[in-house]
Each structure stands twice: as C-alpha cells, then as structure tokens.
Amino acid sequence: MSSPPLNGIRVLDFTWVVAGPLATRILADQGAEVIKLERKIPAPLRPRRVGLQGGLNRNKLSVAINMAEPRGIELARRLAKISDVVIDNFSARVMRQWQMDYESLAAIKPDIICIGMSGFGRNGPRVNDVSYGPTLQALTGYTMMMADERGDPVGWGYSYADMAAGQAGALAALIALWHRSRTGRGQFIDLSQFEAVASVIGPALLDAAVNERLQKPFGHNSQEAPAAPCGLYRCRSDRGDDDRWISIAVRSHSEWRRFVTAIGSPLWASDEKFRTLFLRMRNRVELDAHITQWTLEIAAEEAMATLQQAGIVAGVVSNGADLCQRDPQLQARGFWPAVKLPDGSTTRVPGIPFKLSASPSLAPRCAPEIGDDNDYVLGELLGLSRAERDTLAASGAIWT
C-alpha cells in the first residue's frame, strides 16, 4: 500500500455553505491537507462535528484568522505561499480586496492553483447575482421538469446543485494539479456553479438545442431505454409507515415474461393489451393499477428480492433509515464509516464511493471546531512562536 494520492498537497480553503466544502472534502479524503480558514463566530447555526457540517468537514484542519485585520490577511497570504491550491466560493471582489486573487498570489507563488467557485462565474451580466442550490435548480430547468401529478413544478427536496458543483470543483482542482505536474504551471479556474449544474442535465438539453423541442415534465416516462412497467409503485406498509415504494423497470420481452412469472402469473397479464412493450406503454395506467395491486400486498424489500431474483430491475425507494442502516449492500461495503468524536462517542458519515486498490482507506478524522488547528498551522507551518501567536491574538488578527 502506498500513501494516498494527494499526499503532500496542501489546500487553503475559504469555502462555505455546501458546494465548496464538498469540493475540498473530496480532496481531503484523498490525503490532501485541507486548511479551512475561518472566522470565529460566537454560536454556529449547526453543530460542527456531526450532521451535515461533520460530514463536509471531516479530514480537514481549521485555523481561525481574522481577514478584517491587515495582519490576518498577511497570515493568509503566507499560508497561500506554502499551499498548492486555494479555493473560495465568494464573489470576485472579496479575494481581490484581500490580495488573495490569482494574480496577487501568483506573484508570490508562481505555480499556485486558484479555484473560484462562484454562483455564476467571474464575468457576464449575472456576475453579481447571488444563488443557493434551489436558485440554480430553478434557473436550469430541474425544478420545472420535476413536476407533481398535476404538472406543477416541484423540483428537488434538497440542493443537488451543490453536489454537482462540489464534485466539479474537486475535479477541477485535480485536473489542474495534473496539468501542473506536466507543465510546472499553475492557473486560475473560474468555475460557475450555474454551468456545472447545467452541464449534467443530459440529453434533454441537447434535444432542446438540436431539435428545438420545448421540454416537458417527463412524468412517468423513462429517461433511458423505454420500459413498461416503469417507475415507482407503492408497497405494503411497514410498521405503520405506508410511505414505502419500489422502483421497477421492465424493458424487454424476456424481462416481461420473467416479471409475470415472478408476480405469480396473474390472469390480467395475458391480456392482449399488455402483449408488447408498445402496448404496455400505451396502456400504462391500467397496467400500473394491476401492478400496484401486487406491490401493495408485499413489503418493498421482499418485492425487490423477488424481482431481482427473476432478473428484473427493482430497487427499494430508500428513506434515511434504509439508506443509513438497513441497506445490506452499503453495510457490506462499509459505506458509512464511523468517526470518533473527542468526547469518546462516535458518529457516522458518508464514505468514499470508490475504492483504490493501491491506496489505504483511512478511517476519517473528525471535523474540527473553528481554530482547532491554530497551533499546528500557525506554529508548525508558519513558524510563529507562542509569544508571537499570543500577540496576534491580542491584536485581534487571530482567534484562539
């Protein structure tokens, strides 16, 4: 086993909310030393070591530097000088006023890689617009296409946009590191979260561009190979919870025959109107009513096992407990690693969705409270003595 892929890479992390911290978490998980540069706030809105923040900030370090003070800015610039990557998700103005923008940093560290993960990018008519995930999901079409039964827009229940942008941010940093290893050159990547989210809509956007087709909510239709039955079916209630569903897709004739056998060869299934895929798609309302009669009598897990055994695509619509505790596959692959907290208790966080055969999979380190790593970062990395740090603290340039 060798050291992790990003061993020796240092990332100075100014990001906040979700997309930016996800990008740097992906880098931290692969062995980069990620230093969160943070402002001390009296009482954080959400707990830091568990939940969303705990998951996003695991494996990172935290230093509490006051960027409102010139001496704080100077410390940040010294840190940038010994870093490989600097990431932020502010608007353009912020990094520039601190002289932490790419041009300023390249003057003191020529091969620095800077990534600005702003909402809309650093130029264009929306350059000053503000956004969160739901804003971007609305603007890009997800909210409208993900409609309810009446066709009204609903969209995601969460900020998938932050996930897509965070993954893109991590990839951008990695590709820039690769480019640097080949050329010795750093660079600035002006990443627009709006574009990262638009880039993964998929063939629907190309259809709009090429065929000039107005897109409609896809409703029950498959967005990949045509299938019928296809979609989500309500299952038997489980311990009083009737919000149990299974996803089923039957694509070919042989799958249809196996499906019919698996659900007990009911009489309706031999009806002429369900004989071909085309007919099943055309008569899908009636077909779905028949299938729901079967699914309502069976637990979602059991329906999935029965259908998978017959070689049919089927999956439980997992809620939090299914996902985090009951799903045997995620458990078997150890997808929810435990994190030890300072008080001796443990919490769990999402794992890394891939395993590298030549890299050790390390147990994640617990997320830091703000300023937890002041001593290491200011003392060891910047070589400041205890007395110098005390002076900085007294002058308000750092928080202890």
């Binding site: 568990v50 969303l52 929306r126 617009d129 503000v130 969160y132 739901p134 804003t135 609305a138 890009t140 079409g141 997800y142 409208m144 309810d148 039964e149 969209g155 229940g157 969460y158 900020s159 998938y160 932050d162 897509a164 993954q167 990839l171 951008a172 990695l174 050329t183 660079q187 002006d190 990443l191 574009e195 880039s199 993964v200 998929g202 956007l205 709009a208 065929n211 087709r213 498959s222 190979a225 979609g231 989500l232 996803s247 695509v313 999956g315 439980v316 809620n319 939090g320 996902l323 985090c324 045997p328 596959q329 995620l330 769990r348 999402p350 969705p353 891939f354 395993k355 590298l356 030549a358």
Partner: protein, 401 residues
C-alpha cells in the same frame, strides 16, 4: 487557437455503456484521447432517443451524442479472442481503461484486472458498476431510477401523499461518472509519484448516496428520517411560489431586512414585520406561514421583474424556467458555455452543452463531434498497432471490427 487541453497526451479506452459514458466525456472535454470501444453494430446507447429530427438511427441518437462528444470510436468484438488480443495490445498504449460491464464479465472476457495489470503495469482500470464489485447486491441489475431509489435520492423529492419525483436527467449515473473521473485523476496523480496502475472499484449507488445532502446528516446527527415536503427545501429557507406569469423560488436566507421592507412597502407584509422574524431559525421553524404570506405578496408580480428586483437586493430568488431557457441565457452566452460542434457529414453545426468548467490554462478549444460507429477503427489500429490495410480488411471480414 487550437489548445490541446489539460489532459492532452493521456489515452483512455472507454468500454462503458450509457451508465458510465459521461466519465469518458468529461475527460475527453479536458483533452484526453478517449477511444470508445463499441461492439460491432455499435453501443446500445445509440438506440436510445431522442434522435436528430426524430429519425431513429444509430448515428443520430442525441442520447449517444451527449455522452460521447469528443471521443473516437473503434468497433471491436470482445467476444472473440482476436478482439481481446487487439484490446490488450491497445491497452499497452493507454493510461486508463474505463468499463461498466456486470462485475465478473471483464474476467470472463479474459480482460480482468490481473490480466490487464500483467499486460501494462502502469495501466489504471476504473470499473463503474451499479453496486460495486463486492457485496450481496453485486450481481443485481439496475437502471438510473432504481439506483436513485437505493441511493436515497428519490425519497425526499415531491409531496408526501404522492409518489417521489425522479430527477431530471440520469443523475445517479452522472454522480457515478463524476466520481469516476475524480478517482481516475487521483490514480494518475498517485502514479506520478512513482506508483503503478491500480484498480478502481466504484459503486454508482454509493456515488448517489454521497450526493444526497442532508438525509444521512439528519439520520446520524439527529436520529431523524427526512420526509418529502412538497416544494419546501429541507432547510426550510426556500419554496416555490406562483407569480402572475409563472413560478419563482423564494429565498429567506440573506438580507431579511431588505426583503421585508420591500414586502411592507407593497403593503403585503402582514405579521412578518414583527421582530421575531429577524431570526433565521425562527423563519425556518415557521416557514409554512412565512411562505404563505410571501405567496400572497408575489401573485401580481411578473417572475422576471420580481427575481431581478430581488437580486438587486442580493436575495437569491430565481425564476423557475424550462431547460430550453438556457439556450437564450445571456450569462451562459457571455461565458461561452455552449459549444458549436460541426457535423460535416450532415452539413450542420449543433450547439452542445459544454463542460462543467473550463481551465484558465489549457482550455480545450476545438470540439470533435461524437463518432460514427467504428469511425476511427482503421486509423487507430493502423497508427497505434501498426496493422496493415490487408490485415484490417481481414478483421473486418471476420466481423472482429
């Protein structure tokens, strides 16, 4: 200017089907030479619509086009030993092989990790499978919806009394593909430090589960199972509202004072002027009432006017638009998000959605349209493997290419 892109010089053999094709597309957008290895007759994705002008044909599938921009195509029958030998020879010239066969299938073809590693010690193999290469679900089959279901991505979208709502786009596959690209570049960087190639075992279910923001956080952090709550975001700071001519997303994070002064100036603030609403946590706790009042306020506005006035106050309102609105979006146009790609055999040029980001140094500037079936078989086998014209003719006659 014809810059080669940051990954220029890397060769990637892309053996994937549509589940994982985006992975190679992203790397090709960054300049890698990605060779799509298709079975004779073409990748099955070529049969998936929509099609150009709605005319089904393997070289007109927009589904295939989207996922295979910038790649070259080589047809190869991996079911016969000649095809396998050619692939092994080609693998010796490559840095990465990406595949999404059912687990075990690559071994059965004689192309498993051990074999590839013996062939080329520095080769990286990235295997994307619905559930990964191990575990009780290893051999289960899946589509994007079932992976979104099992990855926790569906349960929280929609209204509690209705079925969950599936994402626009094949987002489980996309999460798998993005993480595949991340893993590949990590493995390349590790190889640079003097390491060898390695095998990446990626589970699309896990990539999906890793991209559900709050569900696991609620479960492990608060012992709570998140439920669907209509258009209300889990954080309770956003909800869809209806204007005179369409929909917007409300946002109650940020400068509350500016928002409520505006609403009050319109005479629609009701009780929201009371001081307790200044507290963000209070606003989240009482989100239903808050958004009901704001819905009353916006119903006589036009969406675009409302959102633009909100943005001027730095409030993150957004208009709910269809995807085609992006085609006329001035921001995307100003930054060159869409790329013009010429299809010479059709005599037409189409606008493609571009890469998730462009690099400041070494951006790719020239785009290669998605390949026709086996379009580059001859050039690849000739120039990379040194095959002669008559050998190619024989392989074609035997159906290997």
């Amino acid at each position: 200017m014809n810059e080669p892109g940051a990954l220029a010089g890397l060769r990637i053999l892309d053996l994937t089907d549509h589940k994982a094709a985006l992975c190679g597309r992203i790397l090709a957008d960054m300049g890698a030479d990605v060779i799509k290895v298709e079975p004779p007759g073409g990748d099955r994705a070529r049969r998936i619509g929509p099609f150009l002008d709605d005319l089904p044909h393997p070289d007109r599938s927009l589904f295939f086009w989207f996922y295979n921009l910038n790649k070259r195509s080589l047809t190869l029958d991996l079911g016969c030993s000649r095809g396998v030998d050619l692939l092994l020879a080609l693998a010796s010239t490559a840095d990465v092989v990406i595949e999404s066969f059912a687990p075990g299938e690559l071994d059965r073809l004689g192309l498993g990790w051990q074999r590839l590693h013996r062939q080329a010690r520095s080769l990286i193999l990235c295997s994307l499978a619905p559930f990964g290469q191990t575990g009780p679900y290893r051999d289960f089959i899946a589509d994007d919806t079932s992976l979104a279901a099992l990855g926790g991505m569906l349960y929280v979208n929609g209204f509690p009394e209705q079925a969950p709502i599936r994402p626009l786009g094949l987002q489980s596959y996309h999460c798998g593909a993005e993480h595949g690209a991340i893993a590949i570049v990590c493995a390349l960087l590790q190889r640079e430090q003097g390491g060898q190639g390695q095998w990446i075992d990626l589970s699309i279910q896990e990539a999906t589960a890793a991209a559900v923001e709050q569900v696991a956080a609620s479960y492990f952090g608060e012992h709570k199972i998140d439920r669907r709550q209509g258009t209300l975001h889990w954080s309770r700071f956003f909800r869809v509202g209806s204007c005179r001519d369409g929909y917007v997303v409300h946002c109650t994070l940020g400068d509350w004072t500016s928002l409520i002064q505006w609403v009050a100036a319109d005479g629609k603030a009701q009780d929201l002027i009371e001081p307790q609403w200044n507290d963000a946590l209070y606003r989240a706790e009482h989100a239903e009432h808050l958004f009901d009042v704001l819905d009353q306020w916006i119903k006589d506005y036009d969406c675009a006017e409302l959102a633009s006035r909100a943005q001027a106050l730095r409030l993150a309102y957004g208009v709910v638009r269809p995807p085609e609105a992006l085609l006329g979006d001035e921001q995307l146009a100003a930054r060159g998000f869409f790329v013009e790609v010429e299809h010479p055999e059709l005599g037409r040029t189409f606008r493609y959605p571009g890469a998730p980001f462009r690099l400041g140094a070494a951006p790719r500037c020239v785009y290669r349209r998605p390949p026709l079936i086996g379009e580059h078989s001859g050039e690849i086998l000739k120039s990379e493997l040194g095959l002669e014209t008559d050998q190619l003719a024989a392989l074609a006659a035997e159906g290997v290419i």
